[in-house]
Symmetry: C2
Subunit: 368 residues, 2 copies
């Protein structure tokens, strides 16, 4: 966690009238400019007017849903997808389309076929497509450039919006960065969600949306909170403007890579029957249990041993029982997080899972 | 504006892992306990489980609407009412009932008649009644105890919720405090909204809702923002727990009373044709222009002279043109705010309004 005491003192002394008064509805101007520059460096063509500050990325997703969705609309998500996103989207009374993923990310061909079939059945195309293309939550998959291009083209051709939720993009340990959907978007289809939660600290509750100026202004009118906290915005701006974010991120990447490597080594030596693909970044490993195991029961038994992990069930929009057993969209997976626990805790935690796995049978040869 | 640098240092040094990590969804436990005690002192029977921390009172109103309202529902508000509340409520696709006010506050008899008439017409009763009973925005009126009892009884008998928006309650200069609606509520009808914006500083964006535990938990599930900023919550808690709020409020009351008195003196000497009733507290004076004047034009002309005031039009849910001219719910009023400007600015500002008012006719004898 970064030391923000100096920034807080600057914010509360030098900028007291700014930080303790109502803030501009779209966010503090210097912070919007800083984010704009940060996104430009990442290849996104954007101006400060195309950015709104929100109370974390979840709040951003909620506002985009409020802008775009009406009851009865349809939203496409990967199966599995970010579990906190599901109830936010669902609260708008929409229908979901679930799209499978492979190692290149969301299967855009499948999505296209689903939309074509719906068209033949006189059912509407999705109004928006939600995805986490970098180090996907929970699968850890990063979408290939080819697939990204395909997705933005499909969205453009159908006039569908894309929400690119991008909290982990900077947390890459290995491999080369892939262009963001927003940077590939030539049709203003993409709403990109960013957050300081994963860059600096989750408690700060400051994120942003990058979209067209018109949509940003419309979102501003939907933001009923009287402006996001200017004190936190100023603290973050002072930290970033002082150039501290880059070295902090270096440290975060180094730490989390150690965590990931420890988790991979522990899984390999203690629980070889759990199958996974090592992610190039992010927070999560999506691990498959041996065929006969129930992930809900496994998560419960793990918790009883002091190990917190999430059953795969929570990452699907439908009822778990409705999915074919051991299908890609089915049971048998758990999400392991390596971000919070220390390497020693990770090693001890994975070791404790050993007892829960069968040790008297041949190692399952199922592929991910 | 209070000096919060010491509190920020405590929050970011001693409580770093709390303030920079995700916060409990319903708010930091010590702050909820502090608020609970604060409300108990004000006569409200409440436990910490019946309080949720939100991102300012507007966010609280939005969450209550999200909990209670469906499209086609009906909401009762005073005419005029708080203008920022209108679009928040309206965004839920509801119909409004406008209820007039007299010097005792909302006319509960009229509301009752309106509901009875709707019943005869097979139209639904309101799902909620929204009001600001203390130093009403914009009228400055404080509801009498008799009227409050009548309102909570009516709500209880019909099973209607009340939103008691109470940002100005502590800003009383003269007269005795009247029991809050929440303290008079024996039927769990009242959702009480509080905020640190008016107690400490608007930029902090921290408010709360007090309601039943069941409703607080349901609201928590609707709160999509990943928890309200724990850093700001901790800063506020440290400030309040150190006993600094009471002396700060004494100062605020003293200052704002000077502001109010200056505004009253200036209006009396410079613009005797503007009629008003001096409020006992709060931020606002609701002033009536002479009969023939248009408040929109007046506000525009005032702004051109560097004086910011709000035309009454913005405080009504309907189209201004639909109201009878000079009716209580009609044109001809402006809202003057004495909270932000200094006494010298207030005096100079009111003096500049002189030119805009007729000086060649007899003083209007209209009553408020």
């Amino acid at each position: 966690m970064p030391d923000l005491t100096g920034e807080a003192e600057i914010a509360l002394r030098r900028y007291r009238s700014e930080t303790l008064q109502y803030a501009p509805l779209l966010g503090l101007a210097p912070l919007r400019e800083w984010i704009c520059n940060y996104l430009q460096v990442d290849g996104v063509k954007v101006s400060p007017e195309q950015i709104i500050i929100v109370n974390g990325a979840k709040h951003g997703l909620d506002l985009i849903c409020r802008l775009l969705l009406d009851p009865g609309d349809c939203v496409a998500v990967t199966a599995p997808t970010y579990f906190t996103g599901i109830p936010i989207i669902r609260s708008y009374g929409v229908e979901f389309i679930e799209v499978p993923q492979d190692e290149e990310g969301m299967s855009v061909d499948t999505l296209h076929h689903q939309i074509e079939r719906r068209k033949r059945e006189n059912r509407p195309a999705p109004k928006l497509i939600y995805d986490i293309p970098d180090f996907h939550n929970p699968t850890g998959i990063t979408m290939s450039k080819r697939r990204r291009l395909q997705l933005v083209e499909l969205a453009a051709s159908l006039g569908v919006a894309i929400v690119e939720d991008s909290p982990y993009r900077e947390i890459r340990f290995t491999g080369a960065q892939v262009p963001s959907l927003k940077s590939l978007d030539t049709n203003d289809s993409v709403f990109q969600l960013g957050t300081f939660s994963k860059l600096m600290a989750p408690g700060l509750r400051i994120g942003w949306i990058a979209a067209t100026q018109e949509n940003i202004e419309r979102i501003g009118r939907l933001k009923s909170d009287g402006g996001t906290c200017p004190l936190t915005q100023r603290i973050i701006y002072e930290y970033c403007a002082a150039g501290k974010l880059a070295s902090h991120l270096d440290l975060v990447r180094k730490r989390y890579q150690e965590h990931r490597d420890t988790m991979i080594a522990s899984l390999t030596s203690f629980t070889p029957k759990m199958r996974f693909k090592a992610p190039d970044g992010g927070y999560y490993i999506w691990a498959r249990l041996p065929r006969e195991m129930d992930s809900n029961l496994f998560a419960k038994q793990a918790l009883a041993r002091g190990v917190e992990l999430f059953s795969g069930e929570q990452f699907f929009v439908g009822k778990f029982a409705d999915y074919p057993v051991n299908s890609a969209a089915g049971s048998g997976y758990v999400r392991l997080s390596f971000s919070f626990a220390s390497p020693a805790q990770i090693e001890a935690g994975i070791a404790r899972l050993m007892d829960l796995l069968p040790n008297d049978r041949a190692v399952s040869r199922d592929k991910m």
